[in-house]
């Protein structure tokens, strides 16, 4: 019994983590409005979800904002991280402290700060402010993901590229960027999930009529709306597919690589 105790405990913890996920998926197929009694199988909540324009729009905004915010914050973050590695210590410290402030601040504080900024300077809140806010809070995480890779960089390689006639920009593009690629990829992935999952900041800086999935779920929580179960199920399925692909593609790639190598021999 003692031998199995750790495994039983871990199984219970995992059950706790997966219970609500299994629960929403199960009840998304419920025949009735009830969230506690399963009366029969039906797809009506999926039909209702697809027919609900605000709901579909919220998915659209979540995805579009996550994609744009990821691209922009990854570009700015990469450029800044490269610049930081060559900057004076004062500048480096200053930017680091600023990023720490952004990451360690409670989300609600960042959120009201941005809201006050936008409103005080007369910027109408809506899609633009929502997107801008997402880019703002994603960049520090991108920089954080890239910095370790930049520290490992061998300065001599870039110097060699310059000596061999590269312009600084060519050295950047042909030598530095390829070496820090894994960091950039991690940064982009972090940015995407941060943006896609965000609720608190989006809630404060969005304008009327613009909802992402989180703010939509929050705003419709007063009534019982089983379509949200259907929406959740779609997200669960979507995320699972993305995660499986993210884990399987590198695996297949390395296998192919190995195969190619053995063929060469």
């Amino acid at each position: 019994m003692r031998k199995y105790l750790p495994k039983i405990y871990l199984a219970l913890v995992i059950l706790f983590f997966y219970l609500p996920i299994v629960y929403v998926v199960f009840f998304s197929f419920n025949d009735s409005r009830s969230l506690t009694n399963f009366t029969g199988f039906s797809l009506q909540w999926y039909e209702k979800m697809f027919a609900n324009r605000t709901m579909m729009e919220s998915i659209y905004y979540s995805v579009v904002i996550a994609i744009i915010a990821t691209i922009v914050s990854t570009i700015i973050g990469t450029i800044t991280a490269i610049g930081l590695s060559k900057s004076k210590r004062v500048v480096k410290e200053f930017v680091n402290q600023m990023d720490n402030l952004s990451m360690l601040n409670p989300e609600i504080v960042t959120a009201i700060g941005l809201m006050l900024l936008f409103v005080t300077f007369g910027i109408t809140t809506g899609f633009g402010t929502l997107l801008l806010a997402h880019i703002i809070f994603c960049i520090p995480y991108v920089i954080l993901s890239i910095m370790p890779k930049i520290r490992q960089l061998d300065d001599n390689l870039a110097e060699a590229a310059l000596d061999l006639g590269c312009t600084p920009w060519q050295a950047l593009y042909k030598v530095i960027i390829p070496q820090i690629k894994p960091g950039i990829f991690t940064g982009a992935l972090t940015a995407f999930t941060m943006s896609f999952d965000d609720f608190v900041i989006s809630y404060f800086v969005t304008g009327p009529g613009i909802n992402n999935i989180s703010t939509y779920v929050y705003s419709s929580v007063r009534r019982i709306n089983p379509s949200i179960n259907a929406l959740s199920t779609i997200i669960v399925v979507g995320i699972t597919i993305v995660l499986v692909l993210a884990n399987v593609i590198p695996l297949i790639a390395t296998k192919r690589h190995q195969k190619a190598e053995t063929n060469e021999i």
């Binding site: 490269i82 060559k86 504080v109 700060g113 006050l116 999930t193 669960v236």
Partner: protein, 261 residues
């Protein structure tokens, strides 16, 4: 290579505008009175006096602190054994276990919290207990992962040495494993306590309208009441409480380190 230095300048300006200025705005709003315009400065402490003179606000602050501290303790108590057991698995199973625990975190926090509403709907539990379940559910994975990381980095030779020197399993755990995992516990505390204090959608979704924490106060003063000055003051008070708590935790950590040395 100095050309690359210039690459940092755009973000320097960006960060000042979008990270520092907003914080500064909160300060200004907290110390001025109404008229949602920064142009008409009117320095005042009234917002803070209003908070500390009203027992309701103090009660909400106290409740938020109490719930955040309790959530943190519950997460350590349940998270530590989980992390410990994972660290004892075979290396391959360890990464599988970590993956299984991280997976749900990829799904929107709000969606997962919403799911608990259905489960707890007819449970008959008090709003407070429901909020605790929601908090522990959302933040426990962070605690497990932090403690697991520090345990997996531990040099196993220390344990062998402790056993050789006559420690039994329990003593070896208390004198070697536990002290070495303190950094993991501390970073776990940061990742649990901080969002727990300021959380506002968990109490709203699971506690019903009656259960108010400091985050809900800030939300309602900004979005419902439209009293931004008071809302800014509340968030400043909350930030200071968080900073002080984190300072105490860190200090405790350093003292422990000093003891060990």
């Amino acid at each position: 290579m100095k050309e690359f230095r210039r690459l940092v300048y755009p973000y320097l300006v960006w960060g000042i505008i979008f990270i520092l200025v907003p914080m500064f705005m909160i300060l200004i709003y907290a110390f001025t009175d109404e008229g949602n315009s920064v142009m008409t400065f009117n320095f005042t402490f009234d917002n803070f006096l209003r908070f500390f003179e009203d027992s309701i606000f103090i009660e909400v602050l106290w409740r938020s602190l109490k719930i955040a501290i309790a959530t943190t303790i519950i997460c350590i108590l349940f998270g530590y054994p989980a992390a410990y057991f994972i660290a004892k698995l075979r290396p391959n199973s360890q990464s599988v276990a970590v993956l299984i625990i991280t997976l749900p975190m990829w799904i929107n926090m709000l969606v997962r919290t919403y799911a608990w509403r259905g489960i707890l709907l007819e449970s008959g539990l008090s709003p407070e207990v429901k909020v605790y379940i929601g908090m522990v559910y959302n933040f426990l994975p962070f605690m497990i992962l932090q403690i697991y990381t520090s345990l997996s980095k531990m040099n196993k030779d220390y344990l062998v040495a402790a056993t050789d020197l006559g420690c039994n399993a329990r003593q070896a755990f208390m004198k070697v494993t536990l002290p070495l995992s303190v950094p993991g516990i501390i970073s776990g505390i940061t990742l649990v306590f901080l969002p727990a204090v300021s959380s506002f959608f968990i109490p709203k979704l699971l506690g019903g309208g009656s259960f108010v924490l400091i985050g809900n106060l800030i939300e309602s003063y900004f979005l419902t009441a439209g009293d931004w000055n008071f809302g800014a003051a509340i968030s400043l008070i909350m930030t200071i409480v968080i900073l002080v708590s984190m300072f105490i935790t860190r200090k405790f950590d350093h003292e422990k380190e000093a003891d060990n040395a």
